[in-house]
Symmetry: C2
């Protein structure tokens, strides 16, 4: 027996203009628009403001969200929501923005600190209406029951998991992907691939999550390269937006694995892009996990377009790992942790901390701190 949850989704070119009406449908009058500098400069936050005005709603802008966002940002955002007497939130941005909007909504009605809610199902009161518009493809946070926030004191990312964090409406507009840099497109796209692969081999995978994981895999294997190659390739943007959506639905309900557990820990200590860290770790973790689910790794290779007919499950799984390495290299993703500034002396503490991340529980192969350390050394 298993559960599957997802928000209402509005998908397609121009759905950003549904932002105001979406809030109005949820009964809201005064909206906190959560965003960051990059998204403001690209003009997307202004479009959302206009859409709110057009639907007769007032709005306040909160743009104080950084990469790998911290607890105090969620608290500041919650204060902005309360002090301005808002009654709904729109997050317009990447995973950081959406995760802050969710955690601020959580604090606004439940009080306390983000760390009080770390783990699974610790939220008591309903959240205010949440509309999310992702500007990367992507974090999948616009459909997921996760919010990931850095605890500065413990130097780690906390994962909060609850059905209450599933937004009410996700507006997925591929047009907003056109302002992303090639580096950000590559980094967030490899995060999509990591979501698809980790949720597909997760011990919590179900036939319903597999449907979405498989679609995400097929689409990102086919469209990530052309999406990085040209910001004007509309088909590639649309298909990567769809891949991100499917991957988000898969991991929201099947959870993830060791790549994300380790990446959350590293992201809590180093100011690195989540997708870049994942890109480096993914092939190493796939090698480690291969013996846990060889048939599923064969299916991954098949979905990536590899000819696996004459191969054993393990041989086909190796093909999938090669595919990931080649893809990352083709789109200019970092290939080692050290080139990003990760220091060898962090390995012991990162290994130890990673074990307690919520995503580690669903990794298909049991793992010790020593094994995590060995993977980090391979990836150095």
């Amino acid at each position: 027996m298993y559960k599957f949850v997802m928000p209402e989704v509005i998908f397609g070119s121009g759905s950003i203009r549904q932002a105001g009406e979406s809030c109005a449908r949820l009964g809201a009058k005064r909206i906190l628009i959560v965003t960051d500098e990059g998204v403001m400069n690209a003009g997307w936050a202004e479009l959302v403001e206009q859409s709110c005005r057009a639907s007769g709603l007032s709005s306040i802008l909160f743009s104080g969200v950084s990469v790998n966002p911290k607890e105090d940002e969620a608290e500041a955002c919650a204060r902005a929501y309360i002090e301005n007497e808002c009654d709904a939130l729109i997050g317009v941005g990447g995973g950081s923005v959406i995760d802050i909007a969710k955690s601020a909504a959580l604090l606004a009605t439940n009080g306390g600190h983000v760390r009080d809610y770390e783990g699974v199902d610790r939220i008591t009161y309903p959240l205010p209406p949440l509309v999310m518009l992702p500007t990367t493809a992507g974090s999948g946070s616009e459909v997921s029951q996760f919010s990931v926030i850095v605890d500065v004191n413990r130097k780690k990312k906390m994962t909060i998991v609850s059905k209450s964090l599933v937004p009410d409406i996700a507006l997925v507009d591929p047009d907003v992907l056109s302002t992303k840099s090639p580096h950000l497109t590559a980094s967030t796209g490899l995060d999509v691939l990591a979501h698809a692969i980790e949720s597909f081999v997760s011990v919590a995978a179900t036939p319903l999550t597999d449907v979405h994981a498989k679609n995400a895999l097929t689409l990102s294997a086919r469209y990530l390269r052309p999406s990085v190659a040209s910001r004007y390739n509309k088909e590639a943007k649309e298909q990567m937006a769809m891949a991100s959506l499917h991957a988000g639905l898969a991991f929201s309900n099947a959870i993830l694995g060791a790549v994300h557990a380790m990446s959350h820990t590293i992201g809590g200590r180093y100011p690195l892009l989540h997708g870049d860290i994942n890109a480096v770790l993914l092939p190493h973790v796939m090698e480690f996990n291969l013996i846990a689910a060889p048939q599923k790794f064969k299916e991954i290779a098949f979905l990536m377009g590899e000819d696996v007919r004459a191969l054993s499950d393990t041989e086909a799984g190796e093909k999938a790992i090669q595919f990931v390495r080649k893809l990352a290299s083709d789109i200019g993703a970092p290939l080692t942790l050290s080139e990003m500034g990760f220091k060898e002396e962090s390995i012991p503490i990162v290994s130890e901390t990673s074990l307690s991340d919520a995503c580690m529980i669903t990794n298909p192969r049991d793992i010790t701190a020593e094994e995590v350390a060995a993977l980090l050394r391979q990836a150095l």
Copy 2:
């Protein structure tokens, strides 16, 4: 740009025991359990009552639902809800039961008559919490934004379409399918196939609905025969429950076509099983629709397991139609309208009335009353 909505789904053996807790999670205290005689005799309604008690909820039973249920049944059900001061509804049954539970919920908070809400998006106020447990695989109504109710005066089925009719939680428990007769299994299973095919070729189909339609097609093509063959084949029951769920998600968001438009009309005049009527009409409507979407019909044949590599789109589409005829014949479904008691003299009025059914709008080929009449004559 398109929308996709679905309820929370709990899938798997034993999920019937989640009925009480599901209502409790939605804040309910006093539940109206909507069901029918057949489901009561099979013992499923009692299991739901027990589950409510175990969660500390009181419950009232309403079992006055017939096949092709009528407006006065929805009104009686709404009265039972109001008079007993209930605060949530559980529907335990086939499409008739679930549609009555939905329409009763609609009347309970919006007042008036079911006919006031016929058509698309005519509901003003939110409905009470709705938990649905389908005992057939099936109507898909447990996840859909539809309720279909007979207007006795106009002798037609009214289709009410609104996001408000999407239940809060769908409990899909394949174990409850074990008490269905082979005839009901065949009839409701062919309805699943009709949902999958009609939503896949619908003019409102989207990449998100296609994912579900394709899964429904593949599963029902493979598992309907063994599911009819044995009530103890657990795998077949589980896969047909999954097929029904996917088909429901597809048609809820992509709507249907001429098969359902005609079947609704016939079902408003003749006390016949919806799935039996669909089974007879489906191949004829596929023949008619083939020129509208030959590529999609080729894909249907491929998903059914046919070798279509050397065939043109149209040739492959013909294979899909043959597949449906063979499947219906293999599982003992009726093959003509006249063997079910449908009279030729009904053809003019049924043709005329079918044109105004909400499902006709999304049929992939434009259709006139004369063409509907010709299809009915073919199917006689």
